[in-house]
């Protein structure tokens, strides 16, 4: 790489998306450095139980890709920061009766926080990741966050926490391609991970088992208690509030003439509330800790498509800002699975306007 080329740090995971992203940047002539974050280790004392991310195998894969691409590769330890800013809040949220999405916190504090700082300290102009999303600079200089080109892989939901400052310093090379195209690019570059399967589990959970994780790290966060209906009549016993999510029907251990769904919880009373399908529907939510990608809320109510989970479909709604970090969302039609703790993310077409955390609803 020539001395004059622009330096980019790529966050590498050993997977196909970040590997192809690194390859694309090398092809475009950037001075590329691969970094892998060591985020979490859970040891059973004999080298057993590994989380999905930053295992020795993932590290070896990323290293092999970096060698193939001829770029330097380093592992940076971020375990302390990750625990404090992602894992602890994840545990706390469950304990508070919420269903958190830790990926947003991780992007906010780790990837586009601590790692971006690392990249800058290494004189990099940009930090790149393998996310399926796009960044566009409009004529007035402002940055927009766009959905990835591949609608099936779009990851803008977990990037809705990004600020103008971060967008100015980040590249998403994979966002302009479909997943299949990215695999082809990886194959064409001779990367051995081109056909590696992907996992949807949370990266720090072994086997995606969040119940086991909570039992190990927050013993006492799951205490059995009563299951009641919306009239307050006791119907059964739950195994611990963190084990349930709004809209859940299976696994309640109840027999009733009509199907019953989880509709909420009274955390203070450690009580799970269930009800019939028609009780479940709600057509409004309040989002807090809202990030507006543009840097400020819109002047008044806006029409938007709103996603209430990573893999949910967009639902038409009116989003009304209430101060800088709160928004009230009124859906055109009721939804059955509005889940406190998950993110509500607002879109206009391909443009991600921002999003916030769904607040607990008044009982």
């Amino acid at each position: 790489m020539g001395t004059g080329s622009t330096r980019v740090v790529v966050a590498m995971s050993g997977g196909v998306d970040s590997s192809a992203a690194a390859g694309l940047l090398v092809e475009r002539g950037y001075d590329v450095i691969g970094l892998m974050m060591r985020l979490w280790t859970e040891d059973d004392g004999c080298g057993g139980r590994h989380n999905r991310c930053c295992t020795p195998d993932q590290m070896a894969d990323a290293r092999r890709v970096a060698d193939r691409l001829g770029i330097p590769f380093y592992v940076v330890d971020m375990r302390a920061t990750f625990k404090a800013s992602v894992v602890d809040p994840f545990i706390d949220a469950y304990a508070a009766g919420l269903t958190p999405n830790p990926c947003l916190n991780c992007n906010r504090h780790i990837r586009f926080g601590a790692l971006l700082k690392q990249a800058q300290a290494m004189d990099a102009a940009y930090l790149a990741t393998g996310h399926y999303a796009r960044i566009r600079q409009s004529e007035d200089g402002a940055y927009q966050l766009l959905k990835g080109l591949d609608p099936a892989k779009d990851q803008s939901y977990v990037l809705s926490v990004m600020t103008q400052r971060q967008l100015a310093q980040v590249l998403f090379p994979a966002g302009d391609y479909t997943k299949e195209h990215i695999r082809q690019i990886a194959a064409d570059l001779g990367l051995h991970i081109a056909r590696k399967p992907e996992s949807q589990d949370l990266c720090f959970l072994a086997d995606g088992d969040y119940r086991g994780f909570l039992a190990r790290h927050a013993p006492g966060s799951a205490t059995p208690g009563p299951i009641v209906n919306t009239q307050g009549e006791r119907l059964g016993t739950h195994t611990g509030l963190p084990h349930y999510t709004v809209g859940q029907r299976k696994g309640l251990g109840l027999s009733a003439p009509t199907p019953l769904y989880v509709v909420g919880a009274d955390v203070a009373a450690n009580t799970l509330i269930v009800g019939a399908r028609d009780v479940l529907g709600r057509d409004a939510l309040v989002a807090r800790h809202v990030n507006w990608v543009a840097g400020a809320p819109p002047d008044g109510p806006v029409r938007a498509g709103v996603k209430i989970r990573y893999r949910a479909r967009e639902t038409a709604a009116t989003v009304t800002p209430d101060g800088a970090t709160t928004a009230r969302v009124k859906f055109d039609a009721p939804l059955r699975d509005i889940t406190p703790g998950q993110a509500a993310v607002f879109y206009q077409g391909d443009v991600c306007l921002g999003g916030g955390v769904i607040a607990r609803q008044p009982a």
Binding site: R7, I33, P72, Y74, V76, D77, Q118, A121, M122
Partner: protein
Amino acid sequence: MAGNGQSIYMDYAATTPVDPRVVEAMMPYFTERFGNPSSIHTFGREASRAVQAARETVAGILNCKPGEIVFTSCGTESDNLALRGATLENGRRHIVTSPVEHHAVSRTAEILHAHLGYGLTVVPVDAYGMVDPADVADALRDDTALVSIMYANNEVGTIQPIAEIAAVAHARGARFHTDAVQAAGQLPLDVAALGVDMLAISAHKFYGPKGVGALYVREGVRLVPSQSGGGQEGGRRGGTTNVALIVGLAKALEIAYAEREAHVARYRQLRDRLIEGVRARVPDAQLTGHPEQRLPNSASFALRGVDGNALLMHLDLKGIAASSGSACLVGTPEPSEVLMAMGLPPAWALGGLRLTVGRHTTDAEVDAVLDVLSDAVARVRALAAA
């Protein structure tokens, strides 16, 4: 290499390039002289002669008998053979070692302690990482089988008073082993003068190949082999004799000790230039290890508030190969056990930096490292503070 394309190797304590004369000496034993020294026939005898010549060369430098040299696969194997072999053979049930040993010694001692019930005493070190022979004397018991203290420390370069410690051990009837892996090539290896019963070396530290080491075992010291098998190496180490690498070890050791004085004088000069430069230009850096009793090629420092691994990454981006001094897992910042044993607080013990010079190091390289280092340290500190 990123950056301006320079590439400076300052990690000769990790390993060294093989001397071309050593490569040349080994080559025939990979191809035309491929015989197995255990065979009766001409091919076998030819290989056997080469191994015997190598044994005599090594014995000449160590001032011992050829039969007292056991060839192994590396320094770690030599240490394992010394610790396991000498304690298992012995009726005594106690081991004495130090907190600054290489893991090849410390982990092996811990396994003997945890799984086979041997008593284990770890004597303290002072702020320079030095063992006091009087502490060893206090630790000795009537049933002490073995004392194992390294000759020179790999992380901070401190040279231990081996001869005195050996005498103390012998006074109570205990065996004395020293891990001389880091010392070999730079310090005298005269086992009679040192008074040791066992001494471990590894070829790749003195411009020989990786994959071969040796253990000196004083005549009369019985060993249970830690790798049992055929009768090779006098029954003390089973496994087909690695002729080419053994020839390489002997040749490398021969060259290292023929040229030692000249090299060592040059190393000292380069090392002191590094130490003075770091003192003058890097704030909150302190020399670790003994100021005088230290390896000629080793400059090691503790840097307050610096993650040693992050620093190494920044140096590598500038084309400089250095070490944090510990054999830690990549990307895992744990405070150095050696620096902690020397009483450094964790804020300093995370920031180990070891710069080790060698035959190919130049003054210009030392200056280039010093030019880059203060900036790299400032960046890593700024990142930690952010």
